[in-house]
């Protein structure tokens, strides 16, 4: 091979590889991202059946019910709308009524949100950022400081 051919073959190989990688990345971005919603935003949202989303808000007061074994039910609210959530597993340390949570999962046919992960805020200084922004956007943010 001449110098030029050598260089072209290397560059060509790299290009094919990069094209494959970007294709894979674009596909994954289309398939594997999940959108965040507050309860009030769900009415307007168009969800495909079984689409994974993240649902955030406050844990509604008086709704936390522990069932058999590890099952837990509670409602997530933005103070106006609320959504029932079913979860099985250990709740995070900072899970409390009237505190911010972000849950991830899918809607069941009866409208209950089945979460496979529940995240609470990491420390006492802040809400999950999405929940704080969401509450501020709807004017329901209460500053407790």
């Amino acid at each position: 091979m001449t110098r030029k051919q050598k260089r072209l073959s290397v560059i060509g190989g790299a290009m094919v590889f990069l094209a494959l990688a970007s294709g894979l990345t674009l596909y994954a971005l289309g398939q594997k991202t999940s959108y965040f919603f507050m309860p009030g935003e769900l009415q307007a949202a168009v969800l495909e059946p079984g689409q994974r989303i993240r649902l955030g808000g406050l844990v509604e007061k008086g709704t936390v019910v522990r069932g058999e074994g590890t099952a837990v039910a509670f409602a997530v609210t933005d103070q106006v709308h609320s959504v029932k959530v079913a979860y099985s597993g250990i709740l995070p340390d900072l899970f409390r009524e009237e505190q911010g949570v972000v849950t991830e999962g899918t809607f069941r046919e009866d409208g209950v949100f089945v979460a496979d992960s529940v995240l609470a805020k990491h420390d006492e200084n802040y809400m999950p950022k999405e929940v704080a922004d969401g509450l501020k956007a709807t004017g329901l943010w209460q500053d407790d400081d």
């Binding site: 073959s9 999940s34 099985s88 006492e124």
Partner: protein
């Protein structure tokens, strides 16, 4: 008084960093030796002042001086002494002070060890280092002053975030910063080379040890952070593809690429411009990581109290350095001489392949990390890109790279023989295949993919061993000769083999945990037992316990092996840190070989039991031990004679030996 001294020292250090930037740069422009010689002493003095400033803040923490706002917000008089000291960097202001301390430390190292650098290169490097320092000193002083006072002084502090009250805080941030900030030296060398318009193989020999050192520290920092998250958060996960983790992983990936391309540049004078670009990109990714973690755009344990002005300030530093260096690169890179050509199938070719894969992987992780931020900035929609994205993109990109790793070190420079190398790796391949078959038939619950993954890990480890065996001639020459050759191999050959072996060890740990882990969530009452992975776990009961600044409910478990023998106790608890009224889960972990039994307590149930989450984590310790082996490999390479610039004669004799070794 101590606190004011610390503040004053920091202001002086800022002023000195401006001197360090301007005076040597003017010296190189004017060709004035005396102006250039200013750089060294100023860098050392700047480091001394920053160290004084850091010591002053530490003193305020040790004495629990709550008149300092930073101490009041993050400390408590009852906090154990270890956490009083490590708590200095367990907050935004203190961690940024640690950042600039390490930056000044690296500047001083260049001043100390750079005596044999050409005077202009040394002056330019320290000048660039001074500019980075000036930007970050100004950032600390203007937006994140750790020495601000409050009046009247409160009686008691608000305590450190309990998650941070752990030995991990003593190790993870300093190691990580030594890595992050260590890459600033490579950046400064790259920018200095662009300013001078000259770059040669000697340049690569100077840059490589700094890259290696930074990489070793970053590897340790990431591994430690991962292990810390694993045992402290109580979720049993060791990597979440969280943006903050990615922020540290990105410079690691591109730093690894830099490490390899610098070899080509040093040995063969090729890939010069590419190596320069990688040096700039690696530190740019470190800066990006600092921005992501410290600006508060991300929510995580690492984001302390947020303040928009800080984010904007770091963003401006980011634009100044990344934009400036890339603009300089665009202007000057074409004037640098191109290096030699090589055949695609050769050691150089293998290293280019390594770079192609690593930089593509870096780009993928970067896109996955920044995409949600971009989408939110543009459309306001909040999306999350999590593990599924990275599993789908990163793993397919990295798998072929892992398969190719054993080939690289066996290839000859300039023109290699793929067929001959494949023949030499035949035994390693056979061994790996055997491992696949054995694990497929003898490990319970293993799938085809998992067996294949374990095979890849074995392939990496056996490949590294093969490399050493072939280079010392084991099997082809007598044992005594082989031993002499083995001992006489260059340290960098051991370094490569160790680092690649460590990669295999980590891979094995990752594959084993992801595919063979057993998780059970059950409700247990005292006296009840549950089986898990051949062991039986018995819940003994819960007892209250009073710690120095927390109270806890300790759950006691005992576990038995398959033969019914008691093997030990596991204490797992729910803690409440009284000052912040913050609960944490303290997981109980029992180590069996390289595997672990991991027990986390949940909430009590109405029938007197407690929810318990138990994992069997097979070979989990290998994930981090592999990191330690990689660090050992990097350190070994660092000890190679050829990297000691002052030993040219010994280096020449090594170079004469080299082709023979590689040609065998």
């Amino acid at each position: 008084m101590i606190v004011e001294t610390g503040h004053f020292a920091l202001v002086l250090a800022f002023a000195l960093s401006l001197v360090q930037f301007a005076v040597p740069l003017a010296g190189t422009r004017l060709g004035d030796q005396r102006l250039m010689a200013v750089a060294g002493p100023v860098a050392v003095a700047g480091f001394a002042l920053t160290a004084l400033s850091f010591a002053a803040l530490t003193a305020a923490y040790v004495q629990s001086d709550f008149s300092v706002a930073n101490v009041w917000e993050n400390s408590h008089s009852l906090k154990p002494m270890l956490y009083k000291v490590t708590g200095v960097w367990g907050n935004h202001e203190g961690s940024m002070l640690l950042w600039v301390l390490i930056l000044a430390f690296f500047g001083a190292l260049v001043a100390w060890f750079g005596a044999n650098l050409p005077a202009t290169l040394r002056a330019n490097v320290l000048s660039v280092q001074g500019l980075i320092g000036a930007a970050f000193f100004l950032f600390v002083l203007a937006t994140s002053n750790p020495f601000a006072r409050i009046d009247p002084a409160p009686m008691e502090g608000r305590d450190l975030n309990p998650i941070l009250q752990d030995i991990g805080l003593a190790i993870h941030p300093p190691l990580l910063y030594l890595g992050y900030v260590g890459f600033s030296i490579c950046f400064s060398f790259a920018v200095a080379a662009l300013i001078e318009g000259r770059i040669d193989a000697a340049w690569a020999r100077w840059v490589r040890p700094w890259t290696l050192a930074a990489w070793v520290f970053l590897t340790g920092g990431i591994a430690m952070g991962s292990y810390w998250a694993y045992y402290e958060l109580g979720w049993g996960g060791w990597w979440f593809w969280d943006p903050v983790e990615n922020a540290s992983f990105l410079p690691w990936l591109s730093g690894t690429a830099l490490l390899h391309s610098a070899i080509v540049m040093e040995k063969r004078s090729a890939l010069k411009i590419w190596t320069l670009l990688l040096a700039i990109l690696t530190f740019s990714l470190s800066l990006l990581g600092t921005f992501l973690v410290r600006s508060g755009v991300l929510t995580s344990v690492h984001a302390f109290a947020t303040d928009p002005s800080r984010g904007l300030f770091i963003l401006m530093i980011l634009i100044l350095f990344i934009g400036g260096s890339l603009a300089l690169f665009a202007l000057r890179a074409s004037s640098l001489t191109q290096g030699g050509l090589f055949h695609p199938v050769s050691r150089e070719g293998a290293l280019v392949l390594n770079n192609l894969f690593l930089t593509t992987a870096t780009a993928t992780v970067l896109i996955g990390t920044l995409y949600p931020l971009l989408i939110e900035a543009v459309t306001g929609e909040k999306i999350s890109v999590g593990a599924p994205f990275f599993n789908l993109t990163f793993i397919p990109l990295v798998m072929p790279l892992l398969l190719a790793v054993p080939f690289g070190p066996l290839m000859a420079w300039k023109r290699g023989d793929l067929y001959a190398v494949a023949q030499r790796l035949f035994a390693a391949f056979g061994g790996a295949l055997l491992v696949v078959l054995l694990s497929f038939f003898f490990v319970d619950g293993i799938g085809v993919l998992a067996a294949f993954g374990i095979g890849v890990a074995a392939w990496l480890m056996l490949g590294a061993v093969t490399d050493l065996a072939l280079k010392s001639g084991i099997g082809s020459v007598g044992a005594a000769v082989a031993w002499r050759r083995f001992v006489g191999l260059p340290r960098s050959v051991f370094g490569t083999a160790l680092a690649h072996f460590g990669l295999g060890v980590t891979t094995l740990g990752i594959v084993a945990v992801t595919t063979l882990e057993v998780e059970r969530i059950v409700t247990m009452r005292p006296g009840e037992t549950m089986p898990i992975a051949g062991y039986t776990l018995r819940f003994e009961g819960i007892q209250p316990f009073q710690g120095p600044n927390f109270t806890e409910e300790q759950g006691r478990f005992v576990y038995f092996d398959a033969a019914g023998r008691e093997r030990g106790a596991i204490m797992s608890s729910k803690r409440l840190y009284t000052a912040r009224q913050m609960p944490t889960t303290e997981a109980g972990i029992a180590t069996r070989g390289f595997s672990q039994l991991y027990v986390a307590l949940g909430d009590p149930t109405s029938d007197g039991g407690v929810v318990v989450r138990v994992w069997w984590k097979p070979l989990v310790l290998l994930i981090w031990l592999g990191g330690v082996v990689m660090m050992a490999g990097g350190t070994m390479s660092l000890l190679d004679r050829r990297l000691r610039v002052g030993a040219p004669s010994a280096r020449r004799s090594k170079d004469v030996l080299k082709p023979q070794v590689a040609a065998e």
